[in-house]
């Protein structure tokens, strides 16, 4: 019995060793910078579109591979670290006048409050409050930031934000009204 238990523990330790070895190999990629923002998330009683933003309804058209930008891409102060993100392409179905028709957004990987890109799938209907400005981050396309990105639950007509701090299940009609679409 003791030998069997010892075997089990040896197996666990070996597996842990394999995991460590894998992590070591992956460490060749630039070190991940953790970004922590003073970010309140979007709350239901504060739905608005700032002068520097656009608001839109749309569809997820494409989700790229995770990549990163660093000082080489024009980021001051970040020489030692890389900022990882997943580029996501969105097509607009309706929005404020300044909403781009087809554009990419940056979904940061290591950000507090957490952004969960796994909640997005190609074909999902979404609500976004995005930044008007866009930047090249070494991907060859212009990328927009966003303050709010949510997947619409078509069955209940509510938006569920992908940011941990966002209030959940916000009626999509509130966004339509805010964006001047109703």
């Amino acid at each position: 019995m003791f030998i069997k238990i010892f075997t089990v523990f040896s197996l666990c330790i070996s597996l842990a060793g394999c995991a460590s070895a894998t992590s070591t190999e992956e460490a060749a990629a630039p070190e991940r910078a953790h970004l922590s923002g003073y970010d309140t998330g979007l709350q239901i009683d504060e739905i608005d579109v700032r002068e520097t933003e656009f608001g839109a309804l749309g569809t997820i058209a494409e989700i790229g591979e995770e990549t990163y930008f660093n000082a080489d891409d024009g980021i001051a102060e970040t020489a030692d670290f890389a900022v990882y993100f997943t580029p996501v392409r969105i097509t607009t179905t309706a929005g404020t006048d300044d909403a781009p028709a087809d554009y990419w957004v940056v979904v940061h990987s290591d950000y507090s409050p957490k952004l969960d890109v796994s909640l997005l799938d190609v074909g999902d209907s979404i609500v976004i409050i995005g930044d008007d400005l866009s930047f090249d981050r070494g991907t060859g396309v212009m990328l927009h930031g966003f303050r709010y990105l949510a997947v619409i639950d078509e069955s209940t007509n509510v938006a569920n934000g992908i940011k941990e701090a966002d209030e959940q299940a916000i009626d999509v009609d509130l966004f339509r009204e805010s964006f001047g679409l109703s």
Binding site: H34, G37, D39, E53, S112
Partner: protein, 196 residues
């Protein structure tokens, strides 16, 4: 039989992992600074930081100094005219366009790595800085945001990110809920005492 033993073994392993985790209310993402030796001094550069902010930023960093149960020592901001000195400092605070740099439009942002022994706090230069805190209006209360960001620079995470948020976590400096507050409360202090 083998399966039962395997399951028992895994239960033992997982139990050990769970019991090793601290049962604390505060939220951290890991100690940023490996040593508590010396005073943690943020460097600001005269080329990108208004002098009017320096005394408030110093007060914000000093809020994390001398916390009971912690060996962390924090100091006033070192306001240097040398770009080289600033560039080589492990702990920086900058007044710059966060949106331009990171594609994130927030009042303050901290870049760090657990165990990395470096951190940079950014204050968004495109926001209005003064005595009002209102993210919707892009207005930032200097001491509130700076104290919060320095908390990140030491390894504290947003205080309301665990599954069972307490009143203390909601009232913490590390809760970015648009309320003016810059004195670390019991939750903030417990987090620092745990890390350092």
């Amino acid at each position: 039989m083998k399966i039962r033993i395997l399951i028992s073994g895994l239960v033992v392993v997982f139990t050990a992992i769970i019991t090793a985790s601290p049962a604390n209310a505060y939220v951290t993402f890991g100690r940023v600074w490996s040593s508590t030796a010396g005073v943690k001094t943020p460097y600001a550069y005269t080329g990108n930081m208004p002098s009017s902010l320096i005394s408030t930023l110093s007060a914000a960093n000093l809020a994390w100094d001398g916390i009971s149960g912690s060996a962390l020592n924090t100091g006033t901001v070192s306001y240097v005219p040398s770009a080289n000195t600033y560039a080589n400092a492990p702990f920086k605070i900058a007044y710059s366009n966060i949106q331009n740099s990171f594609a994130i439009d927030v009042a303050g942002l901290t870049q760090s790595t657990a165990g990395g022994n470096s951190a940079t706090v950014f204050l968004n230069s495109t926001w209005s800085w003064g005595s009002v805190q209102n993210s919707n209006l892009r207005k930032a209360h200097v001491r509130t945001v700076a104290t919060h960001e320095f908390g990140h620079a030491y390894g504290l995470d947003e205080s309301d990110r665990d599954s069972n948020v307490t009143a203390s976590e909601l009232a913490a400096v590390m809760n970015s809920n648009d309320v003016v507050k810059y004195i670390p409360n019991s939750d903030d202090r417990a987090g620092i005492a745990y890390l350092y």
